[in-house]
């Protein structure tokens, strides 16, 4: 049993949803491999993944920065205009003395999303340039830790819920950042839910193997 080559292990895949053991097969460009037990997506093969990934990562980063600098929503209440930005949301919690919630929110809706998309951009850039094998590996490990804690999609839904609560009491105007956040969340969902980390690891192996030959 111990004689099994570790290289062979790379062909094995355990389904992320139902834990069934699979042997990976070569599939056509643009095709998907699904789990035979539960139909969950195992991996896809896309020859242009690096370009897509880099473009989407960079776009998401730009829209995320836009979403942070401009007001998301403006409201008019008793003649006063109020607005929120992402940093203002958790800074208010700090001002009111809710340090733990403030810190959690700062990480979940600001720091982690920022880190996730910086990582995506850097990883795909490194893969494109075929440089930094070890660095890419470490960044991928970091990415998989942070990925679970990115909650910008949930934050976006929360904004909608908060606004519906306010309808009828105040006049609401959507800011530029709201639309930037919408685009950002759409890319976020595509990148983090559609592109499996497994695919990037397979890409990593492919890219740097070609290099050594």
């Amino acid at each position: 049993m111990k004689s099994v080559n570790e290289e062979l292990l790379d062909d094995l895949i355990i389904c992320p949803q139902c834990h069934t053991l699979h042997k990976g097969v070569r599939i056509n460009d643009g095709a998907k491999a699904l789990c035979r037990e539960c139909g969950a997506l195992l991996y896809r093969y896309d020859s242009r993944l690096i370009d897509y990934g880099f473009a989407l990562g960079l776009t998401a980063l730009i829209f995320f920065l836009l979403a942070n600098f401009f007001p998301i929503v403006k409201i008019e209440l008793l003649g006063h205009e109020q607005f929120i930005t992402i940093p203002k949301t958790f800074m208010t919690l700090f001002e009111q003395g809710f340090y733990i919630v403030g810190l959690l929110c700062a990480f979940l809706i600001f720091l982690f999303p920022l880190i996730v998309f910086t990582l995506y951009t850097v990883i795909f850039l490194l893969l494109k340039l075929r440089r930094g094998k070890q660095l890419t590996k470490e960044l991928l490990v970091l990415l998989s830790y942070v990925l679970k804690w990115n909650m910008s999609d949930i934050f976006f839904i929360s904004i909608l819920v908060a606004l519906v609560k306010l309808i009828g009491y105040v006049q609401i105007d959507m800011g530029i950042a709201f639309w930037a956040l919408l685009v950002y969340v759409a890319i976020d969902i595509y990148l983090t839910k559609q592109i499996q980390l497994q695919e990037i690891w397979m890409l990593h192996k492919r890219v740097y193997e070609e290099q050594t030959i």
Partner: protein
């Protein structure tokens, strides 16, 4: 490949690569992360986080989540109170979202994790392995959505703070955020490879 038995293989929790289970501690061949294969350690960790989360969930329901001050009149609402208020106001969809996110998901998650943690050690009834994996996957997926209420309170507090009309977060916000945080940790700490078929 039939030679390899499934229980000699372990999935790296970080990069999802399949590894051979050789010794107590192994390093993933793909990402070099140390994979903890001692089931007792992982289970006690998961239990500890889960119990912390359940304790934090009690004050989260007793203390007010949202305090609104309107011209000197202070109104406090708890999580359940907030849902009832929304329902009475006629905003049924929002009431349903908050009800699911803040009450249903946390409680279901507690129950599912308790069930999974117990069933790993003591087989209860007949259940299929795949169903349990699905159950775990669903809790992982739905877990973070409990944060909606905390974010909503944060947004409202940031948006409405005039000298006469003000919304302040309540003590429950801290307790609830901590509860969700620890449930997430408990779910991450749980070792999926321990799920076995009970027949």
């Amino acid at each position: 490949m039939k030679r390899l038995k499934e229980d000699t293989l372990v999935r790296c929790p970080v990069c999802e690569a399949v590894n051979l289970k050789k010794r107590e501690k192994i390093r993933c061949h793909r990402c070099d992360t140390v994979i903890e294969t001692d089931p007792r350690l992982k289970l006690s960790k998961s239990w500890a986080y889960l119990i912390t989360a359940m304790i934090a969930y009690i004050p989260a329901n007793l203390y007010p989540m949202l305090i609104s001050r309107q011209f000197g009149i202070i109104r406090e609402s708890t999580i359940v109170g907030g849902v009832i208020q929304l329902w009475e106001h006629g905003s049924y969809p929002i009431a349903a979202i908050i009800f699911f996110a803040s009450i249903m998901i946390p409680i279901l998650k507690f129950l599912i994790l308790i069930y999974l943690l117990i069933s790993v050690k003591y087989p209860i009834g007949k259940d299929r392995k795949i169903d349990k994996h699905k159950l775990y996957y669903l809790t992982e997926l739905a877990g973070p959505w409990s944060m909606i209420d905390v974010f909503v309170v944060a947004i409202l507090a940031a948006l409405i703070h005039l000298s006469h009309v003000e919304i302040i977060a309540g003590t429950a916000a801290t307790a609830f955020a901590l509860s969700v945080f620890f449930t997430l940790l408990a779910a991450h700490a749980f070792d999926e490879s321990l799920i076995k078929e009970n027949r």
